[in-house]
């Protein structure tokens, strides 16, 4: 099975992702810094936390070389929840620059959905629409979300999964070459979530 580095952001639900990947028989190595990342491997950055906090953590964890490996398409990179948001250029949550692998920015949900009965946190299980032939069987399955910010990709073609909030479409999965991000938590979405995570990684890492 793929060697999978799981980055400990210091503030995340690391154990949940760790156990999910182990349950799926991945060879998981938890890392606090990126010094010895092997080419051809998968790096997973899990969610939970604050945008600036996680960007600071990356900059103090020897991420530079890994950043180059990602840009040279020599490793695969999967971000979950906040891990997806940092793949964009910037976020309204903080002042740090994002990684910029995807064009677009991260905005507060309440900027788009406000007033009346609108709820500021998207928390709970939502149907996800998937435009990807390998992952087709998961189309319209329910996954667990908990976030207040949304990534808004500039390029429609980067989006492979969406959900609907207050009758409007929200991008919740992006993929381009060797970089992938998902807003929901497959590691916390029951048995279906685990299966999705496995399919996603295999599809994406080829």
């Amino acid at each position: 099975m793929y060697k999978t580095y799981l980055f400990n952001t210091g503030i995340s639900n690391l154990l949940s992702v760790d156990h999910a990947l182990k349950k799926l028989n991945y060879d998981v190595v938890k890392i606090d810094n990126f010094i010895d990342i092997e080419e051809g491997c998968l790096v997973v950055v899990p969610g939970v936390g604050h945008f600036d906090n996680i960007m600071n953590k990356l900059s103090t964890s020897n991420f530079k070389k890994t950043d180059l490996l990602i840009k040279e398409k020599k490793i695969f990179f999967l971000g979950i929840c906040l891990g997806m948001q940092i793949l964009f250029e910037n976020s309204e949550e903080g002042t740090s620059k994002g990684l910029g692998y995807f064009e677009g920015s991260v905005r507060k949900l309440s900027n788009r959905f406000n007033g009346g009965k609108h709820i500021s946190t998207n928390v709970g299980w939502k149907n996800v629409q998937i435009k990807n032939s390998t992952l087709d069987k998961f189309n319209n399955n329910q996954f667990y979300f908990v976030h207040q910010y949304e990534a808004i990709p500039r390029n429609e073609r980067d989006i492979f999964a969406t959900t609907t909030l207050f009758d409007q479409s929200v991008a919740v999965g992006v993929k381009k070459d060797n970089v992938c991000g998902i807003q929901f938590h497959p590691e916390k979405s029951g048995t279906v979530g685990l299966e999705f995570l496995d399919f996603l990684i295999k599809d994406f890492c080829g």
Partner: protein, 249 residues
């Protein structure tokens, strides 16, 4: 709408009482949460009833064991006073944390937590009792033992501004009696809050589901599940019939 099982924890044991008092040991908490996961629960909340008094080792071990087998979100709290306390819950497997007592006493802890962990993963737990004379809702701490000076509505407004991402609302009068949720409380809070609200305290009969609002984000269920009087599939099927959006398992 999420169906959330509420487990009050003492060390590694599931306990339950009436009106948050008179606690009784029911069994090993991990066995219960694993069973609920397989039956289709949407989320689990662990409430550590002793953390503020003694050590947290019991709940940490329980959490670490639980996340090996339970692949739905686990919200945990009890005795969180500092960012470090919260960090340690996340480190041991929590997906979300909640706080009550420390926030009521020193609200700026909310700002600190939000700056570290983001808003979405911080839940404010509220324990409330309606005052018989003034007919206003009081805010209580320490598992309903102490009454604070705060008024419910003002407190929710303040905590929302400081950045909590969700409200977990327990009616102390109703908790454990299985006589139904506090519907007046629910309607009151839903009217002015734009945070997701989880209602807790009082579920005991499928009929009680007919009274709840579709604007709730979740309901918490304790005793009925723990004592096995009502099952998760029964609850979900009833809610589906009532037109709620429910997660299929």
């Amino acid at each position: 709408m999420r169906i959330i099982s509420r487990l009050d924890i003492k060390n590694k044991f599931l306990i339950k009482g009436l009106a948050l008092e008179g606690l009784r040991k029911i069994g090993n908490a991990k066995d219960f949460s694993t069973k609920y996961f397989h039956e289709g629960i949407d989320e689990i909340i662990y409430i550590d009833t002793v953390a503020s008094l003694y050590s947290r080792d019991g709940i940490f071990n329980l959490l670490m064991e639980t996340v090996k087998e339970v692949f739905v979100p686990i919200t945990v709290g009890g005795g969180i006073r500092t960012v470090k306390d919260a960090y340690r819950y996340f480190e041991h497997g929590a997906d979300k944390i909640f706080l009550n007592t420390s926030a009521v006493k020193e609200p700026k802890i909310i700002d600190e937590l939000v700056n570290n962990f983001g808003s979405a993963n911080i839940t404010l737990s509220i324990e409330t009792i309606k005052d018989k004379d003034s007919q206003t809702w009081g805010v209580y701490t320490s598992s309903g033992r102490d009454k604070s000076e705060r008024n419910l509505r003002d407190w929710i407004v303040e905590a929302t501004e400081r950045g909590v991402g969700e409200l977990f609302l327990t009616s102390i009068n109703n908790d454990g009696f299985q006589k139904g949720y506090d519907i007046k409380l629910m309607n009151d809070v839903l009217e002015y809050s734009n945070l997701p609200v989880v209602l807790s305290g009082g579920f005991g009969n499928l009929r009680h589901l007919e009274e709840i609002s579709k604007d709730l984000s979740g309901i918490a269920i304790g005793s009925s599940l723990h004592y096995g009087t009502i099952s998760i599939p029964q609850i979900k099927s009833k809610m589906k019939n009532l037109g709620f959006e429910i997660r299929d398992v």
